[in-house]
């Protein structure tokens, strides 16, 4: 090679020093033996190269950049040749931070794809390519039966473990490991049964139409029926209903716990001839789970008060 730069390390902590040396072999520097080696950091010349002639006749220059505070830059080793600066070798320098400990690791079990999706907060920018890997074992106590690593896509802070790697209804240990050239850090371990972190989709809420055989709703009452989210039919759940008259500033009123499923439910105690907004949500119960979001609003109007 004509000129060759060697580096203490191509990746340093932001602000640390970088030392590089460049060796120019004889048949390249046709300028005679005292060719002066010059350094460029990006477009700017860098003074301070210490040059010496090695026993084998090659020239070597060493330079130390005391506080390297670019996240990325090219360092070039050059020679002056017939009045033009010639680049003979170039290396990419990078600087940043070791990964912080990922925090707020949480997981949700998706009953449509039956995969366990975990997400975390990666912590401050490291300025370096940093990989996040979800590590998990089929037990919380020991690291027997490891589950294949789940490597998050670049720049993503979530990863999904496929159903075939999960043993449902058993506790598993999960943590996330962050790694870059400057170090590795590991989040605290979560210990959970995937089925205890199921996030349900909201139930479906309807009104029982007049055509239905049931008696029409009395004033101040509404006839409702609902069904849980289909993929969760096998799970015993409890549900909550909230309603709010469409009058400025009115609060929600909560009804519950309600059974998971009913063909017909009469909600009374409402104002007659008033428009109401109704929503419902369910949660796996008595086994652990997460509340679903509230269902889309159902807007209904109570019947007029019949003059007695």
């Amino acid at each position: 090679e004509c000129g060759h730069i060697s580096l203490s390390t191509p990746i340093v902590r932001l602000g640390d020093s970088v030392t590089a040396s460049c060796v120019i072999n004889q048949n390249c520097s046709r300028l005679g033996l005292d060719a002066q080696i010059l350094w460029k950091l990006g477009p700017e010349l860098q003074p301070g190269g210490r040059q010496q002639r090695l026993p084998d006749g090659t020239q070597e220059s060493t330079i130390t950049l005391p506080h390297f505070n670019h996240t990325q830059a090219f360092l070039s080793c050059c020679l002056n040749w017939s009045n033009s600066l010639q680049i003979l070798d170039q290396v990419e320098l990078r600087a940043g931070y070791p990964p912080a400990i990922p925090h707020n690791l949480s997981c949700l079990m998706n009953l449509t794809t039956y995969s366990l999706t975990c997400q975390w907060e990666p912590g401050p920018e490291t300025h370096l390519p940093t990989s996040f890997t979800l590590k998990s074992f089929q037990s919380c106590q020991n690291q027997k039966d490891p589950i294949p690593d789940c490597v998050a896509e670049d720049g993503q802070s979530h990863c999904s473990i496929l159903r075939k790697h999960l043993i449902l209804y058993q506790n598993m240990g999960i943590w996330v490991q962050a790694e870059n050239a400057l170090g590795t850090s590991t989040s605290p371990q979560l210990c959970l049964d995937p089925m205890d972190v199921v996030k349900l989709e909201p139930p479906m809420l309807w009104t029982v139409g007049p055509s239905h055989a049931a008696a029409p709703a009395q004033p101040g009452c509404l006839l409702l029926h609902w069904e849980p989210w289909k993929p969760s039919l096998h799970m015993s759940q409890k549900c909550e209903l909230r309603h709010q008259p469409q009058l400025g500033g009115a609060n929600w009123t909560l009804e519950g716990p309600l059974p998971t499923k009913t063909l017909q439910y009469e909600l009374c105690g409402l104002l007659p001839a008033t428009a109401y907004t109704l929503q419902m949500r369910c949660i796996r119960w008595p086994l652990p789970g997460h509340w679903s979001n509230w269902s889309p609003s159902l807007k209904l109007r109570t019947a007029e008060q019949v003059p007695i």
């Binding site: 004509c2 390249c28 477009p43 040749w81 033009s84 010639q86 680049i87």
Partner: protein, 173 residues
């Protein structure tokens, strides 16, 4: 020797002009990326390295409009394109970001070489055997491949400039 003007079909010349313009735009795209991504923007900074790496340049000496020698010119045009096809292949592994641009450039140069070779065959002036690729420079580091990319593209652009002038001259009605 063939009379330049009459013996080359207009469609051949028009295709060649189109192919040169495409390769020039591919080359410009590669030069832009080398400059933006690796701050290698000036081939003049890499001349010494180019000598050392042994990156050849190819003449188009038979092509000047005053003394155009058609067979020699077509042959030089083809062997030049064939050489650049090889040089671009030698850049393989340049970097994931640049690879698609280098691949496109290399395919377009190869197709242009085929167009010229096909025309030489149609004129009956093509040598019996396709030329074989000579020794190619070996790039031993990522930097050398990038520097090689700058130099090869710069030489190719100068080569195409001459070729374009010659083809325009021949294509004049």
């Amino acid at each position: 020797p063939l009379d330049p003007a009459s013996s080359l079909p207009q469609s051949f010349l028009l295709k060649c002009l189109e192919q040169v313009r495409k390769i020039q735009s591919d080359g410009a795209a590669l030069q832009e990326k080398l400059c933006a991504t690796y701050k290698l923007c000036h081939p003049e900074e890499l001349v010494l390295l180019g000598h050392f790496l042994g990156i050849p340049r190819t003449p188009l000496s038979s092509c000047p409009s005053q003394a155009l020698q058609l067979t020699g010119c077509l042959s030089q045009l083809h062997s030049g394109l064939f050489l650049y096809q090889g040089l671009l292949q030698a850049l393989a592994g340049i970097s994931p970001e640049l690879a698609p641009t280098v691949d496109m450039l290399q395919l377009d140069v190869a197709d242009f070489a085929t167009t010229v070779w096909q025309q030489m065959e149609d004129l009956g002036v093509a040598p019996a055997l396709q030329p074989s690729q000579g020794a190619m420079p070996t790039f031993t580091s990522a930097f050398q491949r990038r520097a090689g990319g700058v130099l090869v593209t710069s030489h190719l652009q100068s080569f195409l400039k001459l070729a374009y002038r010659m083809l325009r001259y021949l294509a004049q009605p």
